[in-house]
Amino acid sequence: MKPNNSIKTNNLPPWDEFQKMVQGIWEREYYTNHGPLVVDLENRIENLLGVKNAVCMTNSSIALMIAIKALDINKKVLIPSFSHLNIAQSVEWAGVEAEFGSIKNDSFVIDPKGIQAETNENIELVIAVNDFGMVSEIDELEELARQKNFRLIFVSDSFFGENYKEKKFGHFGDIEIFSFNESQLINGADGACICTSDNLLADKLRNIRSSYGAVKKVPIPYTGNGRMSEIQAGLSLLSLDNFENKRNEVLKRKNEFNTIVEKTEGVSIYNSINVCCNFILVLNCVKLGINLKDVTHKLKLINKHIELFKFYGVEIYSPYKRKSFPKNSLIDSSIGLPSNITSEEFNEVVSILTQNIK
């Protein structure tokens, strides 16, 4: 096929780069089972983030299931009271019971003080989620894990390449997971990557993922299939090639968005202007004169990755019953936007949110 650079690709690489990458796969005739592109991707991530082990997976939901099995968790798992359904379901698939831990009142992250009492001897693992520009108090959680002897997984989906207190994400907890879903800056068409400094844990992850790419055979409870294909790895590598440029573009756009919302009464960006990650628009629905339920459909049509938190938290679904709904100021008054949302899409979102303002 002839190159066609006029194709609009959002956060995908230009079509001719994609074509070239595909051509390489066709020449090598290596399609999956820990092929050369996956090996290259894992090496690149290890170097970029300075982590000992990067283990690529099919997607972040399967990565989390496999991570819990690799940690050999048999007791209970504490997860944030407000988090994507995927977190509770992954715990359930891994054969253990989830308990809902306190989150902060002004964000969705787990509250280290709040979970002091909740992390009793039955809690063997805490899963903390960093998303939408909201970062957990990582140092405090790591300290609590040491004190109380529980394992710690950070699901840091949209923080790939970012820093926390001058240390790159990828170094926190026993395991840290990044999503390469198309809503993220690294677009592997739904891939994921697990980072860990624990070599034995990395070997277990590789053995559970599939025997291909398992450097060393180590005892594991059982296997799954968490393989990343060569096309997923190829796409992720192309995102990595252009990572800094894309990151700067996103940050520039975010600043533009901030300028727009500063002039718009009732809308603000939540605390993440200088971080290249998914982000939250905080809304004053009374001032805006809107009911989020009424605009849900229109917003989803603009970009499927816009999150209406009404359908996000696991607690709204049976059988996932939380102890109590937190006094959280954000859940009912905010929407989540993907980091790669375009200026056009953002303007459309603002225009829908402000439709009732004269």
């Binding site: 096929m1 194709i7 609009k8 690709t9 959002n10 956060n11 995908l12 079509w15 994609f18 074509q19 595909v22 051509q23 066709w26 005739e29 399609y31 999956t32 089972n33 099919t58 997607n59 972040s60 939901s61 399967i62 299931m65 994507h84 359904l85 995927n86 379901q89 992954s90 359930e92 698939w93 054969g95 879903n181 198309e182 677009n187 068409a189 739904d190 409870p221 059982y222 296997t223 799954g224 299939n225 393989r227 294909s229 060569e230 096309i231 997923q232 796409l235 989803k300 499927k304 990755h305 359908f311 679904y317 049976s318």
Partner: protein, 396 residues
Amino acid sequence: MKEKLAILGNPPAFEKPRSTSNLIKPNIDSFLNYIKPSYSKGNLVEDNSLIQELENRLALVHGSKYCIAVCNGLWGLVLAINELKLNNKTEIIMPSLTYRRMADIAAWLKMTPHYCDVEIKTLGISAKSVENSINEKTALILAPHPIVNLCDVDGLLNISKKYKLPILFDSVEASYACYNGKSIGTFGDAEVFSVHASKFLNGFEGGYITTNNFDLARKLKAARNFGIENNQDLITLGINGKMILPHAAMTMSSLDLLETQIKKNKLRFYKYKELLEKVEGIDLIEYDSVERRSFKNILVKLNSQWPYSREVTLKILQKENMVVRPYYFPPLHKKEAVYPTIIGNLPNTELLMNDYMLLPCGEFVDSDDIEIIVDFLVYIESNSKEIKIELAKNNN
């Protein structure tokens, strides 16, 4: 002979490995054409149009009412069993002589694999072997079709009906087959297929489930999307089990090659058949001559005249870059597991488990390669005495 065998330090028969994986290579332009519309939209996961097109096409191939594309065959099996199993029952009846991860699938479901025997004739489970394993804890019958030909579908369906047990066919190795003239994909409660690159259709990674049951299809579509239906209602336990669009585009391009592939597979199979006549110790397992078959795999039995154990045979051939594989070895009941398993009476499995192996096939194997492989087999068969002495000298 010292100069001929790689196991004795000589160059291998093939410079590049000849494997048992299919690895068909679709037309690159066909792949790019399928993916381009979604790529233009910047959407490689959530754009349902290509997934629906693929599901419709696969449903047509199999003659099923519904098809649900998933991220891979393993999670397809897990999700399908989760929907079909009888409530409050814990055991899944499955053969021991099957896919090496089959018992792990039960473990993800917190269920117990109950291993049943296979028939000598089909290498698959049968009504009799399943019936021997049914008890008050049985939740589901998991019936994988063997690598060549099929298990006794009618017999199994009768047992499923008689005991009111759900039956799920693992049809990964029977992708293109027919049973009594009817396409595989419509039997039992559902059937699961893989489009892993090594299988009949190359989709990089991926799988799909076929069924005629509307309610099951509805639940499986939700299950692959975190259990959520129509973006709002949680109707079942799910995961992110979606097939991504590059994998769907690859599967579509592989489907375009279906007839060509069958022709190539047949040529390979009949070449083996013709040449293996010369090898007394090896019997080729033949495909049914009346029913539709994929002719993908080349399965042979080492009979009593073959001078080596299978283990030694595999070693010799693998050194030649003939990546031959033992047939489902070790069987599941011989593997150590950290979860409970139930081992039924398995005399046939014990009898057969060391006899069969798969010879190189697929895209990387042509007619000349088959001649080299079979000539080599003839050579090691007719020079077995001397070879055995040399191997012993070299501690093999």
